[in-house]
Amino acid sequence: MITFKLNGQTVQGEEGQYILQVAEKYGVDIPTLCHHKALEPAGMCRLCTVELFDGRRSRFVTACNYPIWEGMEVQTDSEMVHQGRKLIVEMLLARCPEVPLLQKMAEDYGIGEPRFKKEEDTCILCGLCTRVCERMGANAISLTGRGVDMRVDTPYGVNSDDCLACGACASVCPTGHIDLDRVNRQHTRIQAQLIPSEYDVGLKGRKAVYVPYAQAVPNTPAIDRDVCMHFKTGGCKICTAFCGVDAIDHSMEDEIIELDVGSVVLSPGFEPFDPSKFDSYGYAKHPNVITSMEMERILSASGPTAGHLVRPSDHAEPKKIAWFQCVGSRDLNRCDNAYCSSVCCMYAIKEAVIAKEHAGDDLDCTIFYMDMRTHGKDFERFYDNAREKVGVRFIRSRVHTIDPAPDGDSLSVRYITEDGHTETETFDMIVLSIGLQISPETVQLAEKLGIELTPGNFGKTGSFEPVATSREGIFLCGAFQGPKDIPQSVVDSSAAASAAGEILSAARNTATKTPEEIPETNVVGEPPRIGVFVCRCGINIAGVVDVPAVAEYAKTLPYVVYASDNLYSCSQDTQEAMANIIRQKKLNRVVVAACTPKTHEPLFQETLVNAGLNKYLFEMANIRNQDSWVHKSDPERATEKAKDLVRMAVSKVALTEPLQEAELAIKPVAMVVGGGISGLTAARSLSRQGYETHVIEKEGQLGGQARSLYRTATGEDVQSKLAALVEEIQDDEKIQVHLNTRLAAVDGFVGNFKATLVCGDAEEELEHGVVILATGAEPLKPEEYAYGTDPRIVTSLELDRRLMDDDPLLKKAETAVFIQCVGSREPQRPYCSRVCCTHSIDNALELKRRNPDMTVYILYRDIRTYGEREYLYKQAREAGVIFIRYSVDNKPVVAVGKEKISVTVTDHILGRPVEIEADLLSLASAIVPPGDEALAQFFKVPLNDDGFFVEKHAKLGPSEFATDGVFLCGLAHYPKPVDEAVAQGRAAASRAVTLLARETIHTSGTVARTNPMDCASCGVCVAICPYSAPFFTTEGPFAGKAEINPVLCKGCGLCVASCRSGAISLKGFDNDQIFAQLFALNEETVV
């Protein structure tokens, strides 16, 4: 250690350190332009000049490269030093008068016009670029020439092979003299460019050390070996100099890890189609032709333009945007993707609606499409709303060519309207709605694993085992199974988990460890002894907030007996140290001022538990995410805010009390309501995973709607598969089937439900821990198209029955007509029934197979054969099935004659009515849910306007309800084909097992509690709670008063705020605690 004086203060530094380094440690600011922490100092800019007194006389040295020695005295702030610096700045400004950084410095030093002759340079010859280039291991540039001719250049001033175009010189240049343009112009033979950010699909650059995106898990930076200079030259390693915890190890190698596993789930996802090969769209040539993925980023608040809608070429706000559908989908001519990508229609509408939200109503959004496929739950409503209320234009036309408009930025589009006219329109920007495809890497993986693929390269699965590959024990989910949206991917992933879980259920809980339990110290009745730990988070907090000052301040607050600062509070060793301090100082309340409780509260609570404290005696002050990171240009006020936040947290924590988490056993029994294909699949999966399961079916036999289905879209026979499933259920000892049974009452809550089952006159009680609602839906009985007046007019399911029975009429019929959307996509039922297009086309093909001479018509509005179902549509057209589109305001007219049924429809190409003489008319009738209010009431789960159940989350929780312990699958959720019903049955079982496998659940401590003495029994809390936690006590001295079931309470506090008598309190967020925080807003009013 070397001791010396810095501005009169005694300071210490290590042998070999320079003055600047020690000054930095002690928070003494010395200006410099040529210093870089990771590079050897060079003393080039002279700005860091300080006054050194060596005991005899004073002289001036550069602080950055002058080593410290014992007993020296340094002045960084003297008048002489200031004058010297001012002169240096003046000279630098004269050399580079246009550099903003120097202009700012000159202003700070009070320099107006420099007294010296002004030059036009922008380089101050600080040599940072040449030193960093050397450090990179490239040594491509150096300071060349002498005296006034000195400049930064390559040898002989020619573009060099040694320059690897890493851009390090540009990144360290303080004046902006070197940028990537200059590197390309003067230094390198290869093109220097930003490293394209994968997350922003190349619209933005990223570094070689990067976190893929803000929400990435784990949120840890990675080094991109392909671009990292260290892996090219062995140089650089600058990142290690900046990492405060020595976490970077460049010598790490890829490892091959061998795991013994019982099953494998493949979820490799998709890659977006690359439209650059379509010359006619000019994606590769024209910057304003972008993909939908790029549009997603442009619209995103975290995107390259922070959500500001601008076009790439000139950053002007577009006035007209067009979307082109089916780019790389439904196309065998220009690419190999014959399938429909399922998701693009919906995302295009979403992007158009959001674009109008961002840019205002004046923005013209137009979607060019072939068939509008909004077959998902609530999607049709979104489409209707976009068209009718938001004003998105929809044009049914496939545009083939995009031409640049004369202005050079806009794009001209020629298309043919529905009535056959050619139109030309100019758009500012065109979005290509690119499809989903399987990457070559995934295809290779599939080959290696020996699993079969479909013609579209998706993993081949069966309708009855939609997540099982052709190889036993290997399952798949997500877009690898077929192009699909988020909810369906989530369903599949849960289904794959259940399929894997069935194989592994015997091994459940065999590889778990039980943590050691530390007895809890009783702190009730003790005065608060608060400990405050203020985190530096490396430089994340300490770089802005004066952390030691905050810790010192905390010591002055009421009840605070200990306060200190930590470098990284979340590190393992600090955790242990904190636990020790809690024990030693007998702390009974803890405040950590650090990052956000959203991510770190559980970790610190564990530290409390390890120190024997109840975990609710804790509070965090968010001085990073909501302070240092967002106020970095105002350190003083950020420190003030940190003190305020700590004071508020201390005031709150003083009022916390230990809270208990009740333990509750879960009855390991499941009840499945509905014995259709989805419910049966759920029951089978639960049983295979070891749980007793009861299937409640209102009818006399199992199978539901599947009993009426002939074949699946992939040609599998439904009846034989269904029979096998029913047999398996009936033979299963763990499954009990209750036929002709309905639910009369349900009591209880998650883990402990009690249902009253009624079968005829018999009544039975069933205790169960979880329930799956699989109550299905019914086909609509049509009230139009003369249905019911003639046996030749049938619904799709009735036609299936005839196909199964091999009805001779089917062979005799000369002409068959299918009418689509019977009762679907109508004002009274504004949803798409999802399955009917595929079903009708499949049946049309079957009729053609049985009688190739039959003329078959399909009258439709949009054909929605999503995913690989599209092949059937193509096949049908090839087989000669005639498709005629009608519009909802001009529906086909049916007249029953003796010989034939006459169907009149207005053809969309001819524009005039066509009369078809048919022998068979099949109506694709809507799928209608029973909308069972009573059942919904039993489990306190909601129904939507259409009568389908409302799941927990439309995207992320499709197979469960917001009510704990209640799950959902099958048609009761939304219309779906067999494969999706099976997948969701499995998914619901999988979600249910996550609860059952826990055996017990802990309630949260932060729940509401009533004080019956104050309760007026008004019932507002009972009515208002979304989780049905409050109820009226029926027994005891407080009968009739409201009580809250802690198991159901989610701690939202709605009841607390709505209680007129103030009878409800919310532990952890009680009135007195929130008031304490508010009173602590001002230092004077802390209580």
């Binding site: 305020d644 939202c1052 807003l1081």
Partner: protein, 66 residues
């Protein structure tokens, strides 16, 4: 008048806006440091008395988000 800066107290829902405020930090967005956040479990927890208390403590504006 241009010197004057309001003091703002905000009540942010733990599940959405509080997380959004965290994300603003992660994204290194900057905003003036004249705001103090009180984390609440849900905006349903808001009580009229909280507004009054905040105003009485000198807040010029109260922002509830969730």
């Amino acid at each position: 008048m241009s010197e004057w800066e309001p003091k703002i107290v905000s009540f942010l829902c733990n599940w959405c806006s509080y997380g959004a405020a965290d994300l603003a930090g992660v994204s290194r967005m900057e905003y003036p440091p004249n705001i103090r956040v009180v984390r609440i479990p849900c905006t349903g927890r808001m009580d009229p008395k909280f507004f009054l208390a905040a105003l009485r403590e000198g807040a010029d504006g109260v922002w509830v988000s969730g």
